[in-house]
Amino acid sequence: MTHPSATAGPPGRSRSAIRPGPGTAHRVMLRLLLVLVAATGLAVLVPGIASAEGEQVIGTLQTSRSGPIEGVEVTVTTAAGDEVDSVASDEDGRWAVELPGPGDYVVTIDDGDLPEGVELAGADNRAVTVAEGRREPVIIGLEDGSRGGGGGTVRAVQLLVDGIRFGLLIAMAAVGLSLIFGTTGLTNFAHGELVTIGAIVAWYVNVSGGVPLIPATIIAMIAGAGIGALNELALWRPLRRRGTGLIAALVVSIGLSLLLRYLIQIVYGGRSSPYQVATGRAVDYGAFTLTNRALVSIVVSVVVLVLVALMLQRTKIGKAMRAVSDNRDLAASSGIDVNRVILVVWMMGGALAALGGVLLGLSDQVQWDMGFRLLLLMFAGVTLGGLGTAYGALVGSLIVGVFVQMSTLVIPNDVKYVGGLLLLIVILVIRPQGILGSRARIG
C-alpha cells in the first residue's frame, strides 16, 4: 500500500490516501477504512517519547471504530535490513523509534498483534526516507476488516443506511424533475444545473460570506426557486407559446445545461471545496455509524419530502399539480390556471434541487459538475419510479440510491455510478413504465 502523501490528517480525511477514486469516492468509505495516522503535531502531545533530539519515525495506530490500538509491535530496519529498534504502541496507539541518522528505513508492523476486526489495508511495511533532524510521520493503512468475511453484514447495513441518505437526496432533486416532466412534458436536462447552482450559492454565502450553513441553505433555496421561476418565465413559457416541439425543447434544455455548467466552471473554477461546518466524528449506532451531518441530512430530507407529499395530497395547489400532471387539457378546462401551476412547480423544483445540492455538497464537497453527475441518477430514479409521477420519483430515487451504495459490496467504489446507470437500462427492459407509471405514457 503506497500512499501519495505521508502527511496525515484526522482519520476521516484520509480517504483519498486509500482509495484514489476520482471524486466519486464516497464519504462512507472514510468511516469504514481506518488509517494508522502519525502526525508531527500529534506526536508533540506525547511527553517523553517525541521530545528527543535527532531523527525519529513516529506514528499512531488507531481506527475510528476500535479506537487507539495498544501493544502492536513496530519494527524499524535500515534499508539494508539491519534492525534499528522494535517498540510496542502505547495506550494511545502511539509509537516512536529513535534513528541513528538520516537515511532510508523500513517500518514494519506485526499484524498478528492487531485486534480482531482490524486488518491491514495493504502491505505491513512502508519504506520512508528521513531527512536530517526530521521526525518522519509514517502511515500504514488499516481497515476494520468488514470487507473480508465476518464483517459483511455490518458493512451491508452501513451501506444501506448511507444508500438511504443518498437516495433521499436524489429524490429531493428528482421530485422537481418528475413534476416538470409531468406538467409540461419537458425532459429537463438542465435540472442538474439547478442542483449545482443551489450548492454553489450556498457555498459562496457560507464560505465567502461567513454565514452559517443553515441560513445559507435557506438563501440557496430561495435563489433556487428564483432560478426555477426565471427558467419558466424567460425560456419555457415563451417556447410553449411558440409551439416548440418537445424534442426541440429537450435539445434546448441540453444547450441550457451546457451553457450553465461551463459558466459555473468559469465562475467557480474546477476545484472541489467543502462547506464551513464542524466536522463531527462518526457516532456509533451499533450496526452502523453515522456522522451528525449525515443524520441531519437524512432527517431534513425525510421532513421535506413528507411536506412535499402532504402538499401534493392536501393543498389546493398540490392537487392542481397532480391534475395538470395527469391530464393537462382536462385540468385547464376544469378552471385550473395551468401556467400558474407550472410556475409553482418550477419554483418548488428549483428550491428542492438547491436543497439537494447543498446536502450533496455536504457529503461530497461542492464541484462544478456535481449536478450533472447526479442528473443521470435522477433520471434513473425517475424512470424507475415512473416518468411524470411525483411519488414514483421518490420511490425510484430511494431504490437507486440504495442500489448505488450497496453495489460497492461487489464492485469497486469508483464505478458505483455505472451500477446505477446499468440499473436504469435493466428497468427499461423489464418495466419501462416504471413502478408507479402507467403503460400509456411510454408511447
Binding site: 444547450g255 451546457l258 419501462p432
Partner: protein
Amino acid sequence: MGDLLDAVAVALKAGLGFQAIFFALLAIGINVQFGYAGLLNFGQIAFALLGGFGIAISVSQWGLPFWVGVIVGLVAAVVLALLLGLPTLRLRADYLAIATIATAEGLRLLFRSVSATPVTNGTRGLSAFNGDFIALAPWATNARYRLLGTSWSGGELWVAVVGWVVVVLACLLVFALMRSPWGRVLKSIREDEDAVRSLGKNVYVYKMQALVLGGILGALGGMVYAVGTGSAVPDQYQNANTFLAYAALILGGAARVLGPVIGSIVLLFILQFADTGLRLLIDNGIIPEGLLSATDVAQIRFVLVGIGLMLLLVFRPQGIFGDRREVMLDAR
C-alpha cells in the same frame, strides 16, 4: 491585423483538421439516427470512445495489428448499438435519449476507473498505437508543410487526408442509402411511425439498423480522433462532445447529406476563432483579466455551443441548409 490573420489561419486549420473530421463523422452518424430516423442518440461519444479505445487497446495492450484494432472498434460499436437499441427502441424517443446519455457517462467512468487500469490505463489513457498508420503516409511525416497560411506536420496532414476521404465515403453512403427504398422507409418512420407500421414494415428493425449505422460512423470518428491526437484518454470523450456534434448537425442542417460536414467545419472554425480571438483580447488587455482569464477560454467554447444550440433550435431549427418541414422535432 497580423494577429487577426493568424487567428483566422489557426481557426481554418481547426476547421479542416482531425477535430473537424471527428465531429463531422459523429454528426453524420447522428444525422442518420436523428435527422433521418428521428432517434435521439445522446450517447454518440460512447461509440467514439469504443472506436478510439478499440484501436488503442488492441494495438498497445494486446499487440495486434492496427487494422485488427479498427475492426475491434467497429465490432464493439455494433454490439453497443444492439445493446442500447434492444430495450429502448420500442419506447418513446426520450427513453433512448436517457439510456444513451447514461451509457456514455457510464462507459467513460468505467474506462477511467482504477479497476479498468490494466486494460485502459485509467485516467492516463493509452498512447503509441498509431505508428503503423502514420508510417503509411506517402510523404515525410516529420517535416512541416504550409497550406493556405497554416502549418501542418506530415502526420497531421496524413490523418486529415485519410479522415476527409472517410467523411466523403460516409457522405456518399448516406446519399445512396437515403435515395434507396430503405432510406425512404427510414424517413417515413420519422414522419409517422404508425403509418409505416400499417404498411407492414418492421419499424423496430429499421430503427435498429439506423442506430447501428450511426454508431459505426461515430466509432470511425473516435478512431480518427484517437489517431490524430496519438492518444486515447477516457476524459477526452466527455459527454459534452456529443452535444457539440449535435450543434454541428443542427447548424449545418439535419436530414441533409452535407449538413453535418459543413456544420462541423463552420462550428470548429467559429469555436477556434473565438478561442484565439478571446486569448488575443485578453493578452492585449482589451478584456480585463478580472472578467475573463486565459484559462477560462477553454470553457467558453461550451458556453458558446450551449447558446448556439438554444438559439438555433428556437429561431432556425433547419440550420443553414435544412428544410424546415423535414426537421423532425416533435416527440413520439
